[in-house]
Amino acid sequence: MSDRDQHSEVGHDSHEHIAHGGNGKYIAVFIALCLLTMGSFLTYFPFWREHVPYQASRALMLAISCTKAMLVIMFFMHLLWEANWKWVLTIPATFMSVFLMLMLVPDIGWRINNGYARYSEERWVYAANPQKIESSDVKAAEKDLSREDTH
């Protein structure tokens, strides 16, 4: 079950002498995480929705998520106290995942009409919302509605 003892010794030496400050800091981080969660939850309330543009609240939520992630990584996962290897293991994956998402945007995230290709007619027939209806059609529809109402 146990790993090689001499390694564990090495592993502990590297951060044991840094004062961890007991469990207090974990509680502090926990409170911070809860507060941050509440911060992003604020956007749920109608008051917030009415007064803050949704782009701003999305940016805020993303920022809060990243902060929370950093707190968890740094304190709970002890990366704050680890040696430099942590960068080797975490940065490539982070970089590649972000790169993957970015490269998907021009094709998939921007597919309704990106200047080179767009939704085909057939696809619009089944796509969620009907296309914009010509004003004449709207008038006709309204006429129909009024006729119906008189019935």
């Binding site: 390694h7 926990f30 290897w85 994956a93 969620a128």
Partner: protein, 337 residues
């Protein structure tokens, strides 16, 4: 972890950490890529989508999501406290914290199950070849509604037994909806160039399953996606409800499917099928990871968690924090965006 063997030779490790931890961090990087694939898919599909349902349209409750976030954060703390206790050789204390973590994980999964159930009971799930969720109220939707109504009616009338008053009431409801479907289809057939039929269908769809977030319809209308005429009609539908629930802003309007749970008619949620695809994909794989964590916790609870097992606790803790991390991103992306 369990399969490390006694060393025979001396080595020159490059990292000042045990093999188990090295392996676990490497495993976590593969997990980062796995979830990057999933979350990346969600982000690009969502922001490239024509329409996306608001949380309330799909019975997604933000407070429940927030509660689950809280539960996971708590479990992260408890597992880290378990590690600290194990490091100090306080085996029973460590076990206590670990037990608490285990329970919190169970709570998370329980809440998740409750949430899934809320979706399932409303017919929101992807299923082959047709789910109950339709993107738009078109002739295919009408056909699906008609098929469901016919099936229901045959079940009710072909039992051979006498028709109970209860059944009679049901048949009345079915006939009423059927009449609307007929009207709409007739309108589409007779006046293919006029939007009247589509509007009728939409009206029917809103009756079966009203949008739970008034904002969705308005937003769609602003974007020019909903024909204004349909909006006029929708506003008319909205009137009595607004009066009824004047003092409670968040009161949900009741659709036919909610009023008569046995009905289970196909419902229209613009962007719903894609939403269901991504939601169940992301939360499903996250829940699977939680489940794996719980199994390891359960196995660990039978062991003495003294200093010699601190490594194991640390490794499973790292994994658990990663699961927590994924949820930290999933919560706003799925519930609040």
């Amino acid at each position: 972890m369990s399969d490390s063997h006694a060393p025979k030779f001396s080595y020159q490790p490059a990292l000042p950490i045990p093999n188990g931890k090295t392996c676990l961090w490497l495993f976590l990087s593969t997990e980062i890529m796995f979830f990057a694939g999933l979350i990346g898919t969600y982000i690009v599909l969502r922001f490239g989508a024509v329409a996306w349902p608001a949380p309330h349209d799909v019975h997604l409750s933000e407070p429940i999501g927030a509660f689950n976030t809280f539960v996971l954060i708590c479990s992260s703390v408890t597992v880290v406290l378990a590690l600290e206790a194990a490091k100090l050789n306080q085996a029973s204390k460590a076990k206590g914290w670990l037990l608490l973590t285990f329970l919190l994980g169970c709570v998370f999964l329980g809440v998740k199950l409750y949430e899934y159930n809320a979706k399932f009971s409303h017919g929101i799930y992807p299923v082959r070849p047709h789910g109950l969720v339709y993107d738009k109220a078109d002739i295919h939707y009408a056909a699906a509604v008609r098929k469901r109504l016919n099936d229901l009616k045959t079940d009710l009338t072909n039992t051979g037994a006498a028709v109970t008053p209860d059944d009679q009431a049901r048949i009345t409801v079915i006939d009423d909806v059927m009449r609307q479907v007929d009207e709409a289809e007739a309108a589409i057939r007779n006046e293919p160039d006029s939007p009247a039929g589509v509007i009728k269908l939409m009206e029917l769809a809103y009756q079966i399953y009203p949008p739970h977030d008034h904002g969705t319809v308005l937003q769609a209308a602003e974007a020019g996606a909903v024909p204004p005429a349909a909006l006029v009609k929708f506003a008319a539908l909205e009137q009595p409800v607004a009066g009824e629930a004047a003092n409670s802003q968040n009161a949900e309007r009741e659709g036919l499917n909610e009023k008569y749970p046995w009905l289970r008619l196909p419902i229209m949620i613009p962007g719903g099928p894609m939403w269901a695809s991504t939601y169940f994909l992301l939360t499903g794989f996250h829940a699977l990871h939680v489940l794996v964590g719980l199994i390891v916790f359960a196995l660990l609870l039978f062991k003495t968690l003294d200093r010699s097992r601190a490594n194991v606790v640390e490794n499973i803790g790292l994994y658990w924090h990663f699961v927590d991390l994924v949820w930290i991103f999933l919560f706003p992306l799925l519930y609040l965006f």
